[in-house]
Symmetry: C2
Subunit: 401 residues, 2 copies
């Protein structure tokens, strides 16, 4: 186990009808003038936006609103929000939505107290030292941004998608009402389940020895998501499965299963390039990349992939053929994503083989991953596995020494 | 799943040598004059107290010290600490030790800003509305007080042992260095493992339906503790098993596995009376009471006890005889405590059958427990099971309707 620091101070209010407490919670954080950031029409149509605004009013909190957040949230809305904060003297940013709205709110909160361009923080040109307090009303269980330290924004100049982790990115509070997710399209639930599983897997595949406790917790979370996701998709009003997904999505990314471990994050990096180029959903990029990544790297640590297969997918262990057990776990992962209706190949995503060299070259810093370090040639190989649609296992990677 | 609120804002600094950061962490919380609360000679002899004091000095934090915390911490030292805080103008309370030192520090922090008797809070005569900030350097993995909202103090007038949960009881920071636990006596590690398992079990046995996610997490934690405890006891310098116990002990009681569930806590209530009367260790009272409680209540929900047996103890499932599977899980729990050298009967604890009616009558409020509500006659039956040393299962309790 590696040394670590962990501080996850967000107040989670998990209950039916909790959106009516937004005003009280903003006021308790000292907010007097809030910027409410949200996406498209669904928050308006469902009446949620009105409920939140009326709760703010009741608590004596003034507000401005900023709608129009899109998936893979972009810098334009962040710049608009920062400008609005400065002009109106905003002291609290409140997101209504999923990861895109929350990540936008975080970036706005970063920029509002900074004289320069908020992108300086994401481009690592300046350290993030202060930010406005922010909170959220979650409507899409997926990104885990409601409890995480991360924000991911796409800069429109060059379509660069970059993430920034900071303790200042932990929301002061998060309102979690599973009923708000009853109206989500099935595909959005599937993308969310994929995303949360990916957040766990990025932490699970590690070279750090002696991490049995967080292994156990990660496997427990994965099993709960695998069990709940199809039920939530089948039954739009099944409170329990929606509640399980909502809480699991938070735990998947607040780093409680990542403490003390080296983490990988190659699949996210590669996926970011796919969604930047094709504007596909974040979850769709992950369901394509992760199984391919697994097939490329598993021989680096077959024992870990055997553990994954046995504990998460209940593949019967076979000490005589660990390779087959490991591969069965990878196949189960891919088949599960597919069963949710997620794309698992380039063809299903609408990606093109000819883009592979450019995609691989674009990955930040030229290399990625910690479980196995990947340079562009290796990234290309992974993308070719994804492209081959169920194609061969890479025969070149040798076991770790 | 029940509605819930969860806020666990403690900053955990988990690393070798982390005690040298105490001063910096106190100062970051605005502390300028700290009261350092510790137990007996071990913190002095080991040099830990000096390391912490010198770290405070380096950070420009003045300090007073208050030693002498005993297991099952008492009100006398709390009164002394409150008096010292008022006299010296203390603005931060820092505990060095296990649950007893931390719980004492919490109660001192409560009393320091209150004109009346701190016991008013524990006796529910006054609501706790403010308290000094506090933090800790953990030396005994057991009580989980380093991340929990609880404090348990024994009032010497009448030897009443009472707990108080409050958000103000969450430490601002907790320094967790597993190496500090290398020198613990084996029996203290065993008591600690028992205590953390009990914290999970009190939450695990519930009537709340649809709690698969927290069930999974609780079982994961239990397996990790069951695996690590014997290894930590066998090898005093095995970093990994000590680290696992230290982090698991925190997770066992910060309520991350208790959210959204009705919790039981009967075994703790009954155990408190045993340790108040016989001054036995908290863990010793639990290893005696919990298996007896299980044997008394299991027929209320055999399916839950089957799940416990199969998932935690890997008892082979037998759908034809769930009762036997459930009983095998209870027997495994008792055998495990016993294998750690913990008492599992009245005789091994040094308790007396003739005290049973008085013990049962003394339980707070006259009744306890939520999984099965227990009045004094039922508490007596449980204590008689514990007294019978492996004796019969209570035949009277009928399954839940």
């Amino acid at each position: 186990m590696l040394d670590f620091e962990f501080c996850a101070p967000t107040r989670f209010v998990f209950s039916r009808g909790a959106q009516s407490r937004a005003g009280e919670l903003v006021a308790a954080c000292g907010g007097t003038h809030a910027l409410v950031v949200y996406g498209g029409g669904s928050a308006k149509r469902s009446g949620l936006l009105d409920q939140v605004l009326s709760s703010l009013k009741q608590a004596g909190v003034a507000y401005e609103t900023l709608g129009g957040v899109r998936p893979n949230p972009r810098s334009d809305l962040v710049y608009a929000g920062v400008e609005l904060c400065r002009r109106a003297g905003i002291d609290f940013v409140l997101a209504i939505g999923g990861g895109s709205a929350i990540d936008t709110a975080k970036a706005i909160a970063d920029g509002a107290l900074y004289d320069g361009d908020f992108w300086d923080f994401f481009a690592r040109k300046a350290p993030l030292e202060r930010a406005l307090p922010h909170g959220c009303v979650l409507t899409i269980p997926a990104a885990g941004s409601e409890g995480s330290a991360s924000s991911v924004i796409t800069q429109e100049r060059g379509m660069l998608k970059r993430g920034l982790n900071s303790e200042l990115h932990r929301p002061r509070f998060a309102i979690l009402n599973p009923e708000l997710t009853f109206t989500l399209p099935r595909h959005q639930l599937a993308c969310g389940a994929t995303d949360m599983m990916a957040h766990i897997l990025e932490r699970y595949f590690t070279n750090t020895p002696d991490v049995a406790l967080t292994d156990e917790l990660a496997e427990a979370l994965l099993r709960a998501i695998i069990d709940a996701a199809p039920r939530a998709m089948e039954n739009a009003t099944d409170y329990e499965s929606h509640a399980t997904l909502m809480w699991a999505g938070m735990l998947a990314h607040n780093n409680s299963v990542g403490v003390g471990r080296e983490q990988d994050w190659a699949s996210h990096q590669i996926g970011h390039e796919l969604s930047a180029l094709y504007d596909c959903a974040h979850g769709e990029s992950l369901s394509v990349v992760f199984p391919a990544w697994m097939r490329y790297v598993y021989r680096h640590d077959v024992a870990r992939f055997v553990r994954f297969a046995v504990n998460v997918w209940r593949v019967p262990n076979d000490p005589a053929d660990p390779d087959a057990v490991a591969r069965a776990g990878i196949a189960a992962t891919r088949a599960f994503f597919s069963s949710l209706g997620m794309p698992v190949s380039f063809a299903e995503l609408g990606a093109r083989a000819e883009d592979i060299p450019a995609l691989a070259a674009k990955v930040v810093g030229g290399a990625t991953g910690h479980f196995v370090r990947l340079e562009p040639p290796q990234i290309e190989e992974i993308l070719r596995i994804a492209c081959a649609d169920g194609g061969g296992l890479c025969p070149h990677l040798s076991p770790k020494s």
